[in-house]
Each structure stands twice: as structure tokens, then as C-alpha cells.
């Protein structure tokens, strides 16, 4: 049943990477504020509609 150990190994690696991501996010201060992100995501600064073509964007990005 060596497949079992491969799967457990792979799963631990995945879980470990998530753990590292979690530690990073805490250290990075991602969760220092655990309320306003939920409100801020609701605001979309509406900018008066204007038409711009994709080619213009390509030029802008250059």
C-alpha cells in the first residue's frame, strides 16, 4: 500500500504549504483588521463611463 504513503506525503506537503501561507498571512498583517475588508469590498468607485478600446489599453500598458 505504498500509494497510501505517497498520498499522505503529498497531502502533508500541501497542508504544509497552506500552513506556510497561513503563517505568512498572519505575519504580513493580513488579519490585523478583521472587519473593514468586508465593508470595503462593497465600494466600487464608479467612474463616469467612458469608452476605451482594447488597443488603446495595449498602448497604455506599453
Amino acid at each position: 500500500m505504498s500509494a497510501l504513503f505517497i498520498l499522505i506525503g503529498v497531502s502533508i506537503v500541501v497542508a504544509g504549504s497552506f500552513l506556510a501561507a497561513f503563517l505568512w498571512s498572519v505575519k504580513n498583517g493580513q488579519y490585523d483588521d478583521d472587519y473593514t475588508p468586508s465593508v470595503r469590498m462593497l465600494f466600487e468607485d464608479k467612474i463616469p463611463a467612458e469608452t476605451i478600446t482594447t488597443t488603446e489599453i495595449k498602448i497604455q500598458n506599453k
Binding site: M1, S2, A3, L4, I6, L7, V10, S11, V13, V14, A15, S17, F18, L19, A20, A21, F22, W24, S25, Q30, Y31, D33, D34, Y35, P37, S38, V39, M41, L42, E44, D45, I47, P48, A49, E50, I52, T53, T54, I57, K58
Partner: protein
């Protein structure tokens, strides 16, 4: 700080939205069609339209085409706005979109042709598997690129769900798709038997978790607050349940293999984690529903919220049922029955479907700068969809309980009360009701197609939506003369994720072949490799998707050993690349088809394959008369024997050279036997190979039992 002006890319969002709708209709139509085939077997028109080939088409279309495009639609819309940045690269967006559609088209062509690996929800053959990997990397590249150039420091919880989806699906796909190519369109799974089953269901369960659940939770956390215009109930809860969910999910896979030959401790581990999963799952459901606290009156008027409420409720029901189904005693009843079909459709139709529709109704008018054409039509869609789910799920639950009880029912004299066929014909009314439910649901979707068509016609796509935000302050200042790799090294998380994937591919390539083959030394001496004819027959069994209706796994219950014979042992499957345990018994188990009182004559099999109802009255199995016409392709025999040997099957060196001769000898024997039964058939027809395989099933073990006596 200078505010920057930039533009959101709505064109890619629109493309994915259209693809979601198109493939949704196609996938559901395929589902309705295969459900009708279970009532009217005559609807199995030609080999390309038989149930065994179309059911994988249905599941793949719904999961990877409908939900897949739905994920990308939602991610491309929400990620840009949450990061206050345009997608990283328009080119990558286009490649991702068209590449994914090409993969879907390739699936739609190859699956009806019988090109399949037979691993559920991973049926696509190896060239397409590679294409999926490439497209997935393109998606990840585009997503992480966007995250890196974001103008908002905080990563909103939805983004975390997207990241988890990307990472885990990449790993799952790579590990489960380990296969040895035989020809351009045929490969053998690198794993055999029990191991293959374990890897497959580790994948299968996590595909549900990380393709159908986590990305959709991310979408819920973005679109539900948006639609309700109020913050999520508890942001804290969303963070906690995210981390809890992803840490628990990857361990629950073995609950798909309860009572099988999998070691008991692995089964128990799977059960424990499955039961624990209810907490993070319900955390998400409660968070979603309570977002509407104090605003429930709006649900009465707002059809989008209605869709979302039903979606989240369905999620709650399915994630309550999941842990229950993973309890061994419940699983003993539910496994192999239509109960599971009901369970997955509450998830797919309820959670994924209804959330997708809600998002579409919210998003399309916005990117087209107009209003929804008709709220009334959307309301009708909502009710048709909801009723459709009920009409689908209730009969299937009923069918599941009933059929399982009938399978397990003994007479007072201690004999099985029902023949298998009786339990099948009893299911027909339930299947008919299910088709009605599916039709309602599909009609609702067609309402949506019309509604969205009219909406799109009335508006004009805002392909590039203007937005403004201040850039993030750079935390790092480049120093003079630094090397190019400093750029990567400053990003530990991204570096880690990508290196993880690279390591996995490398490690897997190195480890799996040697590691697994060594452990495949048979533990039961009487278990022998398949003869060339049986191997070819087995590949026909795989090609036709027989596993979609027939299991090959006798569980250790008296009701099963009485019906099918000795329960299945791990050692019996060591040469099975891929395993064929199946997950559903629409037809009887075939693990012991060639032995004991299940043994039938070659003539019986021949007539049964030609016209199943001629041997089993009321059978709903498709007819396989085309196998009487089609010649067996023996040009692949050498390559197949060689491939099997590479995988550790002990064919002697040089056997491939005499394999086709042996194949012909065995085929002629069967043809002679059939001739004695007044059936004239040339030995080079496909049906002969399939019969040889069916007659082989289970015989190794019974030889052993006879020898011991």
C-alpha cells in the same frame, strides 16, 4: 500619493460567462439524455451514444465545462476588483479562455469515441491531461501575476479560496494522472488495483472539495455581499473557516472506499476527517445565510438573492449529508445506490448551479451597463430550478433507500428475496421522475438563456471598465547591481508554491514507478496476469465505460457474498491498470462474473451483449451488437504487453512476440464453443475478447479456494 487610473477587463469575463451558459446547457442536456437512456434503453443510439460513453461526457461537461467556466468567470471578475488591478496579462487571459474551451471540445469528441482512462472525473486521456496542466499553469500565472501587482494590500478571503483551489487542483491532477502512454489515445494508470482506487478517490473527493466547493465559496464571499449590498456576516468566521476547511479536506478521500480492501486505519482516518468537516462547511453556510440577517424581506423581491439563498442552503444540506454518508453504517446502505446520485445533484444543481445563475443575473447587466431584461422570467427560472432539484432529489433518495433495502432483503428461509433484475425494473418509475426534475431544471436554464440574450442585446459591453486606486507602497527598494533572481527570492510564498509543484512533478516521476511496482508483488499466488485476449477485452470494457453501471467490488456483507460470492481481496487486483471497482450498481457487481453460480455460458454472454433484454427481460442495459461487427484491433497487443510489463506485470520476456498468436488461439476456442451453441462468429470480433474477459472475472480466487479444498 498619486491615484492611478486603470481599466478592468470585462471581455474575458463575458467570454467565460457565455461559455458557462453554453456548456451548462450542453452538460445538462447530456445528463437528461443519459437519464432517459435508463428508462428507454433503445435511446442508446450507436456505440458513440451509449450510456457508458455519454455519462462521463455529462459529468465532465458539468464539472469542468459548466462549473469550470463559472469559476473562471467569477474569478476574473472579482479578482480584478478585489486587487484593484487589471488581470496580469490580456494575452494569458485569451490563451486561458480559448485553451480551456479547446480542452472541452477535445473531451466532447474523445469521450463518445470511447477514448477514456475510466478514472471517474479524470477520464480524459493523457494528451488532454497535459493540455489541462498547461492551461492550469496559465490560469495560475495570470492569477498570481494579478495578485502581485495589486493595489490593495489586504487579500480578501475570496482570493484565498482561489489560491487554495489553484494549488490543490494542480497537485491532485498531477498525482492522479500518472499514466503510461501505450498509443496516442490509450494509456494505463501507473497505479494498480487498490492503490489506483485509493489515488483515484483521493483525487475524486478533493476534486469535489477544490473544484466544486472552495472556488464557489470564494465566489459566494464576493458575489453574495455584493448582491445583498451588505458585508458578510462575520469576516472573522470567514477567515477561520477557510483555514479549517482546507486543512481538513485533503484527508477525507478514503470515505469513498469504506468496506473495501483499503486498510482499515485509512478508512477510519477518512471517516474522522469527514465528520470534522461539518464544522468548517457549516461555518461557510452560516456565514453566507446570516449575511442576509435583518434583510430577509429583500429576498422576497430580489431574485438574485433567492438563487443565492437556495445555493447556500443546498451547500449546507450536502455538507451535512457528506459526513453522514461517510459513517460506515450509513455508507453500507448508501454506497453503490442512487442515494449518492441524489447527494451529488443537491450539490451540483443546488450549490453550483443556483449560485452560478445568481452570479450570471447579477454580473451580465453590470458588464453590459444595462438592466436585466425580465425579472419575471428570472423568477420563473428560480422556481423551475428549485422544483427541478426537488423533483430530482426526492425520487433518487427514495430509489436509493429502496434498492439498497431490496438488495439486502432475505426471506425467512435465509435466501435473498430479490433477483438483481427485479430491483432494477423497480427503479424505473423513480428514474422517470428524476428525468422530469431534470427537464424542469433545464427548461429554467433555457429561460435564463433567453433572458440573458435579451439583456445583452439591450446593452453594450463595457469591455474596459475604468477604475482608480492608489498604488501599493513598495516595501522593497531595489539596490544597484542585484541579480535577476532577487525578484523571485523576494516572494517567498509564490516561490514556494511554484517550487512545490515542480518538486511534486519531479518527485512523482522518480518515485512512483519504482516505489509502486515493487509493492505490486502478488500476495495471492493463484492471481495471474490477463491473457492477451482478456487484456484486449478488458480494454473494451474500459472503453465502453462498463464501470459507470457495474462495480467489481464485493463488500464483506452477507447480502453481497450470497449474491456475488467471496468478498473482494486487495491481492486480486494487482494487475488491474486501471482498477474497475466502479462506484454505482445500476447493474449487478461483476467481480465474480466468471465463477460459481454467476458463471454463464459464452453463448449467454454473446446473446446478452447483442440484445440484453433477450436474456434478462426488462434489462436497461444498452445493446452492444456493434461488437459483433467490429474487428478487434490486435495491432496494439505488443505495445500493451510491453507497457504492462513496464508497470510490473510479470509477462515473460519475449512474450509480446507470441502474444497475438495466443490471442488467436484463445479467440478460436471461444468461437468454437459459440459454434457448438449454434452461433456463427468469426474469432477476430471484439465481442469474443470481451466475453473472454467477463469469463475470467473472479476465477483466480476460486481456483485458490478449490485448491485448498
Amino acid at each position: 500619493m498619486q491615484v492611478e487610473k486603470f481599466y478592468y477587463d470585462n471581455k474575458t469575463v463575458k467570454n467565460f460567462a457565455y461559455a458557462t451558459i453554453l456548456w451548462g446547457v450542453v452538460g445538462m442536456l447530456a445528463g437528461l439524455w443519459v437519464s432517459l437512456q435508463l428508462i428507454f434503453p433503445s435511446l442508446n443510439i450507436t456505440q458513440y451514444g451509449s450510456f457508458g460513453r455519454l455519462r462521463p461526457l455529462h459529468t465532465n461537461a458539468v464539472i469542468f465545462a459548466f462549473v469550470g467556466n463559472g469559476i473562471f468567470m467569477g474569478v476574473y471578475y472579482s479578482l480584478q476588483r478585489l486587487c484593484k488591478a487589471r488581470m496580469f496579462s490580456d494575452k494569458l487571459s485569451a490563451i486561458h479562455f480559448w485553451g480551456w474551451q479547446l480542452i472541452i471540445v477535445a473531451a466532447a469528441i474523445t469521450l463518445p469515441m470511447g477514448i477514456t482512462t475510466s478514472k471517474e472525473y479524470a477520464e480524459l486521456e493523457w494528451p488532454i491531461d497535459i493540455a489541462i496542466t498547461v492551461m492550469w499553469v496559465v490560469f495560475g500565472w495570470n492569477m498570481f501575476g494579478t495578485i502581485l501587482k495589486r493595489r490593495e494590500k489586504h487579500l480578501y478571503v475570496a482570493i484565498w479560496f482561489y489560491i487554495a483551489t489553484f494549488v490543490t487542483v494542480a497537485v491532485l491532477h498531477i498525482v492522479n494522472s500518472f499514466e503510461l502512454p501505450v498509443t496516442l489515445f490509450k494509456s494505463y494508470s501507473w497505479y494498480a488495483g487498490v492503490q489506483d482506487a485509493l489515488v483515484q478517490w483521493w483525487y475524486g473527493h478533493n476534486a469535489v472539495a477544490f473544484f466544486l466547493t472552495t472556488p464557489y465559496l470564494g465566489l459566494m464571499y464576493y458575489f453574495m455581499p455584493k448582491a445583498a449590498n451588505r458585508p458578510v456576516y462575520s469576516y472573522k468566521l470567514s477567515i477561520i473557516h477557510f483555514w479549517a476547511l482546507i486543512f481538513l479536506y485533503i484527508w477525507a478521500g478514503p470515505h469513498h472506499l469504506l468496506y473495501t480492501a483499503l486498510p482499515n486505519w485509512a478508512q477510519s482516518l477518512g471517516v474522522v476527517f469527514s465528520v470534522m468537516l461539518i464544522f468548517p462547511s457549516w461555518g461557510g453556510m452560516i456565514n453566507g445565510l446570516l449575511t442576509l440577517r435583518g434583510a430577509w424581506d429583500r429576498v422576497r423581491d430580489d431574485v438574485i438573492l433567492k438563487f443565492m439563498v437556495v445555493a447556500v442552503t443546498a451547500y449546507g444540506m450536502a455538507t451535512f449529508e457528506g459526513p453522514m454518508l461517510s459513517l460506515k453504517s450509513v455508507n453500507a446502505v448508501a454506497h453503490f445506490t442512487d442515494w449518492i446520485i441524489a447527494h451529488v445533484h443537491v450539490g451540483a444543481l443546488g450549490w453550483n448551479g443556483m449560485l452560478t445563475f445568481g452570479i450570471l443575473y447579477w454580473l451580465i447587466p453590470r458588464i453590459f451597463n444595462t438592466n436585466l431584461y425580465s425579472k419575471k422570467l428570472a423568477n420563473n427560472h428560480f422556481w423551475l430550478g428549485t422544483l427541478g432539484i426537488i423533483f430530482y432529489a426526492v425520487p433518487m433518495y427514495w430509489a436509493g433507500f429502496t434498492q439498497s433495502s431490496m438488495w439486502k432483503q432475505f426471506t425467512e428461509a435465509g435466501q435473498l428475496k430479490y433477483a438483481f433484475l427485479e430491483t432494477v425494473t423497480y427503479m424505473k418509475p423513480f428514474y422517470a421522475m428524476r428525468s422530469l426534475g431534470g427537464t424542469l431544471y433545464l427548461v429554467g436554464v433555457l429561460f435564463m438563456v433567453y433572458n440573458i440574450y435579451k439583456t445583452v442585446r439591450a446593452g453594450k459591453l463595457v469591455a474596459n471598465e475604468a477604475a482608480e486606486a492608489a498604488p501599493l507602497q513598495k516595501e522593497y527598494v531595489k539596490h544597484a547591481g542585484e541579480h535577476w533572481h532577487r525578484v523571485i527570492e523576494r516572494r517567498p510564498v509564490q516561490l514556494m508554491i511554484f517550487s512545490l509543484i515542480v518538486i511534486l512533478i519531479g518527485g512523482a516521476i522518480e518515485m512512483i514507478p519504482t516505489f509502486l511496482i515493487k509493492s505490486n508483488i502478488p500476495t495471492i499466488s493463484s492471481v495471474k496476469p490477463y491473457t492477451p485476449l482478456e487484456l484486449q477485452g478488458r480494454d473494451i470494457y474500459v472503453r465502453e465505460g462498463c464501470y459507470t453501471c457495474h462495480s467489481q467490488m464485493v463488500r464483506p456483507f452477507r447480502s453481497e457474498t450470497e449474491r456475488y460470492g467471496e468478498y473482494s481481496k486487495a491481492g486480486e487486483f494487482v494487475y488491474d491498470h486501471p482498477f474497475q471497482w466502479g462506484s454505482k450498481r445500476t447493474g449487478p457487481d461483476l467481480a465474480r462474473e466468471g465463477t460459481g453460480n454467476l458463471k454463464k455460458s459464452d453463448g449467454w454472454h454473446f446473446r446478452h451483449l447483442r440484445e440484453p433484454s433477450s436474456m434478462s427481460e426488462g434489462s436497461i442495459m444498452p445493446a452492444y451488437s456493434f461488437m459483433l461487427e467490429q474487428n478487434l484491433d490486435t495491432s496494439t497487443t505488443v505495445a500493451k504487453i510491453n507497457a504492462m510489463r513496464t508497470l510490473g506485470v510479470p509477462y515473460e520476456k519475449g512474450y509480446e512476440n507470441i502474444a497475438n498468436r495466443e490471442l488467436m488461439t484463445q479467440a478460436k476456442e471461444i468461437s468454437m464453443l459459440l459454434n457448438n451453441d449454434s452461433i456463427r462468429i468469426s474469432p477476430n470480433k471484439e465481442v469474443i475478447a470481451l466475453i473472454s474477459y467477463l469469463q475470467r472475472l473472479g476465477t483466480d480466487i476460486s481456483k485458490n479456494a478449490n485448491a485448498q479444498k
